[in-house]
Symmetry: C2
Subunit: 465 residues, 2 copies
């Protein structure tokens, strides 16, 4: 106890009065997951404002053998950021954009910088940071790196991993991995940055990164399409990409998802007379002024080829936004319908249709009458497959079936060599299942890496491994 | 000795008569680096034809504590593939394309498949594998992965790393890392494949990989530009990318490089009256039939803005090839001029002009009258900076200066946070310098990883670390 108190005293002393709090009211927002799925507790909240401060406090924790939980914007979906008694380190004061260079197409941001701030900074110099996802107004660069975030532009621009030129991370013993490179090519040894990306904070605290910028698209346009089947979606994706080379996002939504959005979310409209079996939202970006003509031509020929039943191209920015609004509400629209078992799976793109058929059958087997909202990033094989309680079943009764439902849906994904977590990560919530399903040889390699980076197991010790 | 003999006997027995040779004539081509810079020796050449055979022989070597050197197409530039007494394992019989899927845009190739075979297989299903480099007729998939090869299409398509969806590798103890995923998104634990990519065979033998295919470009065109300065090259790159979004390659060559190509290589011609200070070769690819019009417009406006002195767009395939021929001979054209100190450096793109100025001064300081051929992948900041002996100096005298020259040029690159090996790797030839220049904290992490993957240090033990 004394040792622990003296560690806390040293941590406070190192950070100064603005760098920490023990005030329960101030800590509280950091202890609750935003969907209210998890809540935690922490003896203290530390807020380093420089890399040196982060090194110092992690070094002190290491010395004392005190475990830490690290937190960015607290938008994670797998519970990794919620402490259960550990010292909580927030990156909120590591909030500088250290540099931005239009010739190198590079921006150096500290871990606590919010994604929209990076997008804005890039825009101000006529460039673009292409990562985009629903929580971009809160999610931070450090968290996005540690979870290798995905979002809607992965097909064209890649996940967060693909946006990173270099990074800086505080290791478990307080030393620094100094990898803030702006190089496009560097074959000198193992590329260590890739270990920190997606490691969910278990190998060190990412404190800053050099992010890759791209040219702003000169022209963009969005189309909504009515489809009969997922097979059409897959064929359409390839057709449109070949004809336009301009597909930036290709999202799908099933009938129930769209129906619930129309029913439960204010101001959601669809531009078709009836709600189709499937809808695709396709965003295009390109340099040519005739992009809209090109897209309209490609859509017309796709309709003629029977790859879609109907198509509407947004006529203006407002309509584009309304198309995206429909897509973005696919999660929220489920809430009034009761308990949902949610899955963030991926399969090879060609397997999406058969995955959906088999998963539907499994969902109905586990809970007859269960209602499936399937939507997401068709172009990456990443389907958010959410199974809502049957209308004639109580929430509690369905809740008891959720583990079985998860198991069944994940079994289907794995039967196609898929993933049980395409973009959300493992964290706490998928940990048991991950440890059970991952090949032992892979786990052994991961554990060896973890042990050599963090021998005292103080970095997010309940997460992932 | 007995133990060693019995290990050799067991290895032969496991592979059968077609799987090994001790015939010096048959081994000889595997012992000589293609530029004649290194030669080695090996007691035996093993040629496993399946992953299981590779596992078995590496397992046997591990058990006996016998070191191995692994070799693909023997096109490496840093000596890593040349054995010095180790058991030599060639991947030449791991030469199957196991699968190809036009919907998943994925191809599974074994390690010994040659790059052009992959390019051809992709083309046959209307797709494309975009990695392209001079040695593509010999270089193998396994070697390209283990060296994270670059080439001329990195700006648009990324290095080899970016083409890999998943891979399979035999670990030092003979067990298998089974990561042949075709998934685009998978956030389940550390992304181990990135450790094997660029590890130069020190963490395991890559036996197969799932490669990402892309759509074939509908239209391509190539332009040659005459420039006064490297500053123009950097500005031009950004201008053309913004105006066309179609830049697939952007290569530069300095005056001496072009002069030597014209002088020393048969049939090299340039489409300008005099050899300019710098030339840029720009390849464009895009979906629109009007690509050539677009490119011509963009070039006209760049000329008008003073970003180039002259520009020629290839009128046909033959002319395109002749433009590329000039670029591809930048290395060979130096040979008749004597000894060259070669450097594969990268710096942030914005630093290319100042790097070149300072490096030129350093080259002249170390060897007054030394002649610089600078060329390469301007769009990635990767310059091949070759310093040829002064005309009034003997080859031997210059050879003695080469270490000092390397040091001086690399110092300049490092002063801009650059890399001493942008795409060739470390291998044997850059090892001492790498170990001296790399931050000790990075080396410690790399060594910890190496020790946990290969505790007996049997995989390419003289390479990299």
């Amino acid at each position: 106890m004394d040792a622990h108190l003296s560690t806390l005293a040293r941590l406070k002393d190192r950070l100064g009065p603005h760098g920490w709090t023990e005030d329960p009211d101030l800590i509280a927002p950091h202890l609750i997951e935003w969907r209210d799925r998890w809540s935690g507790h922490a003896p203290i909240l530390l807020m380093p404002s420089t890399t040196e401060e982060a090194q110092a406090i992690i070094g002190l924790c290491h010395e004392a053998g005190v475990a830490v939980t690290t937190q960015g914007g607290n938008t994670g979906l797998v519970g990794a950021q919620i402490p259960l008694g550990e010292v909580l380190i927030s990156t909120k004061r590591l909030n500088l954009i250290r540099a931005i260079d239009p010739v190198d197409d590079a921006l150096v941001a500290e871990a606590g910088v919010v994604l929209t701030q990076v997008q804005d900074a890039a825009r101000q110099i006529g460039k673009r940071f292409p990562l985009s996802l629903a929580s971009e107004g809160s999610a931070t660069i450090g968290g996005l790196i540690s979870t290798n975030a995905g979002g809607v532009h992965v097909r064209r621009h890649g996940m967060m991993r693909a946006q990173i030129l270099g990074l800086e991370a505080v290791l478990a013993n307080g030393s620094l991995y100094e990898g803030l490179s702006a190089l496009r090519k560097d074959n000198t040894g193992y590329d260590l940055k890739h270990l920190f990306i997606g490691a969910e904070g278990t190998l060190g605290l990412v404190t800053a990164a050099t992010l890759k910028l791209v040219a702003q698209p000169r022209h963009t346009t969005v189309a909504l399409l009515a489809l009969d089947t997922p097979e059409q979606a897959v064929a359409l994706l390839h057709r449109l990409e070949e004809e336009t080379a301009a597909v930036a996002a290709f999202e799908v939504m099933n009938h129930l998802g769209v129906s619930l959005a129309v029913k439960n979310i204010p101001n959601v409209r669809i531009p078709f007379g009836t709600i189709p079996a499937w809808m695709a939202l396709v965003e295009f970006e390109g340099p040519n002024a005739d992009l809209v003509d090109q897209v309209e031509q490609a859509l017309a020929s796709a309709l003629e080829a029977g790859l879609a039943q109907d198509a509407v191209v947004a006529q203006n920015e407002t309509q584009s936004k309304s198309f995206w609004y429909l897509r973005e509400e696919m999660s929220a629209c489920q809430k009034p319908e009761g308990v949902a078992a949610k899955h963030d799976v991926s399969v090879p793109v060609s397997k999406i249709p058969v995955f959906l058929r088999q998963a539907d059958a499994e969902a109905d087997r586990v809970a007859p009458g269960a209602r499936v909202v399937a939507f997401g990033h068709c172009s990456d094989g990443n389907i958010h497959y959410d199974v809502i309680q049957p209308q004639d079943m109580s929430g509690d009764a369905y809740m008891a079936l959720v583990p079985q439902m998860n198991e069944a849906i994940h079994d289907v994904a794995m039967s196609f060599n898929g993933s049980i977590s395409a973009e959300h990560g493992i964290g706490i919530s998928r940990r048991d299942e991950f440890l059970r399903r991952e090949p032992p040889a892979h786990l052994a390699l991961m554990r060896a890496i973890k042990a050599s980076f963090d021998p005292k197991n103080i970095m997010n010790p309940r997460v992932l491994l």
